[in-house]
C-alpha cells in the first residue's frame, strides 16, 4: 500500500468538498474492493474519504410498497430483511461472512463489477438509485464494464426497490469468490416481467427475448426455446462464452421454477 491521507467525514456535503479539493481522491464505503486494490498497489489515491460515519446512509425503510436501502447498509443487513425475499437471498449469497458484514450496496453498485450480484437485483426490480444530487433509474445507471452514470465525485445515498409480485435470483457462483459466473434475477411486476443477467457480459443486461416468452407463459420449460447470443459474453478459465450462454438459460429456468 502507498501512503495516502485518510479522512472521516460526517456528511455527504463534507465528503464532496474534500473530494473536489483533493488531487486524486477515492471514497471508501465497505472497502471490500478498494482495500485489496490499495494493498496490491493497483491504485494510488492521494486521499481516501471514509463515508462510514455518515449516519443518514445507513439502514432499511419500507415505505409505500417499496424498500429503501441506505447506501452504506451492509449485505448482511439486507439478507436479514425479508420484505423482498429475493433481494434478501441475493444479499445472503454475496462473498463470505466478512464481505457481507463489511461490503455495502452503494459500494457494490458504484463499482459495477461485471460479476457482482446487486446490479442484477437493481435492474430486475427496476430500482431507483438516489445520489447526493439526483435520482437515476437502474435502467440508466449501469453503462458498461465498471462504468456507471455517476459523475466524478457523486455519492450514492440510497437505493429504492419497488416490491415485485414475485421474484427470484439464482446464480452459478465461482466456488472461490462466490462472484456470479452467471446470475439471473427474474421478477414479475404489475408492468410486466423483467429478467436481469449478471456475470455473463461486460455489464448487467436485460434478457428481453426471455422476458417476452415468460410474459406469455411463465414456465421454466419455455426458456429452453430461446436462443441466447453469447458472442459478446465473457470468457475465462472458469467458463467459456458458450458455457455462460448455457448458464443464462439454466439459471433463468431455476429462478422461474422457484416462483412459478
Amino acid at each position: 500500500m502507498y501512503s495516502f491521507k485518510y479522512h472521516s467525514v460526517s456528511s455527504t456535503e463534507e465528503a464532496c468538498t474534500l473530494f473536489e479539493s483533493s488531487e486524486s481522491a477515492v471514497y471508501l464505503s465497505g472497502g471490500m474492493t478498494l482495500i485489496p486494490t490499495l494493498k496490491q498497489r493497483l491504485d494510488y489515491p492521494t486521499d481516501v474519504i471514509d463515508l462510514g460515519a455518515i449516519d443518514d446512509l445507513q439502514g432499511i425503510d419500507t415505505e409505500n410498497g417499496s424498500v429503501r436501502v441506505g447506501s452504506r447498509t451492509c449485505h448482511a443487513d439486507v439478507a436479514c430483511n425479508p420484505h423482498i425475499q429475493a433481494l434478501a437471498d441475493l444479499a445472503g449469497g454475496i462473498g463470505d461472512l466478512q464481505v457481507r458484514n463489511c461490503g455495502t450496496i452503494g459500494g457494490s453498485i458504484a463499482n459495477n463489477d461485471p460479476a457482482a450480484d446487486y446490479p442484477a437485483a437493481l435492474l430486475g426490480l427496476g430500482a431507483t438509485v438516489h445520489t447526493n444530487n439526483r435520482d437515476i433509474r437502474a435502467d440508466e445507471f449501469f453503462l458498461d464494464l465498471f462504468e456507471t452514470a455517476l459523475h466524478t465525485g457523486e455519492i450514492v445515498t440510497a437505493v429504492s426497490f419497488p416490491t415485485p409480485l414475485r421474484a427470484a435470483y439464482v446464480k452459478f457462483p465461482n466456488p472461490a469468490s462466490r462472484y456470479a459466473i452467471v446470475g439471473v434475477f427474474v421478477a414479475e411486476h404489475n408492468t410486466g416481467i423483467r429478467v436481469a443477467v449478471t456475470g455473463a457480459g461486460s455489464c448487467v443486461f436485460r434478457a428481453t427475448a426471455i422476458e417476452e416468452v415468460l410474459q406469455r407463459d411463465f414456465r421454466p420449460a419455455v426458456v429452453e426455446g430461446v436462443s441466447v447470443d453469447h458472442s459478446k459474453f465473457n470468457s475465462d478459465i472458469h467458463a467459456s462464452q458458450e458455457f455462460r450462454g448455457h448458464l443464462v438459460t439454466e439459471m433463468t429456468k431455476r429462478a422461474v421454477a422457484k416462483i412459478a
Partner: protein
C-alpha cells in the same frame, strides 16, 4: 467503414500523432523505427489504475492491406500484458472497410485479480480506438 482510400487509411494507421489521439489514455507515442513504436498509456479500469509502457510492433506487414500489431505492455507493479491485433483493410465502393481481431493475455497481479476481465477490457479498448479512428475521418470531411 471509413470514407477514404485504402492508402490514406494505411498512412494514418502508421502516424504516431494519430495513434496517440485515438488510444484512450495515451500520453506519449514515439516511433522507434518504421514498424516499431513506444507508447505510455494510462489505464483506469474500475478500482485499478495503472500506467503501461508499451512497445508496439507491426508484423506481417502487407502494405496497404493488412498487418499484425504485437503489443508488449509493462505495467510496473501491476503486471504485464501481451496482445495481438490482426488488422485488415478492404477497399469498398464508398471507402475502406477496416476489420480486426484481438487476442491476448495478462500476467502478474492484474492477471490474479482481473484475468476474468481481460478480454472485455481488450475488446473495449480496441473498439474505442477504432471508433475514434473512424470518427476522425468524418470530422476531417465535415471540417
Amino acid at each position: 467503414m471509413i470514407p477514404a482510400t485504402r492508402e490514406e487509411v494505411w498512412v494514418a494507421l502508421r502516424s504516431p500523432e494519430i495513434l496517440q489521439e485515438c488510444i484512450d489514455g495515451c500520453e506519449e507515442m514515439t516511433a522507434l523505427d518504421t514498424n516499431e513504436y513506444e507508447a505510455l498509456v494510462r489505464v483506469k479500469l474500475g478500482p485499478v489504475r495503472a500506467k503501461f509502457r508499451s512497445i508496439i510492433r507491426m508484423l506481417n506487414v502487407v502494405a496497404p492491406e493488412s498487418y499484425t500489431l504485437a503489443v508488449n505492455a509493462r505495467g510496473g507493479n501491476a503486471g504485464f500484458g501481451i496482445g495481438q491485433a490482426h488488422v485488415s483493410l478492404m477497399p469498398s465502393e464508398s471507402g475502406t472497410t477496416l476489420s480486426y481481431e484481438v487476442t491476448g493475455t495478462v500476467s502478474g497481479k492484474l492477471a490474479q485479480l482481473g484475468s476474468r476481465l481481460f478480454l472485455s477490457v481488450a475488446n473495449k479498448m480496441t473498439a474505442s480506438f477504432f471508433n475514434k479512428f473512424c470518427a476522425r475521418w468524418d470530422n476531417t470531411r465535415s471540417a
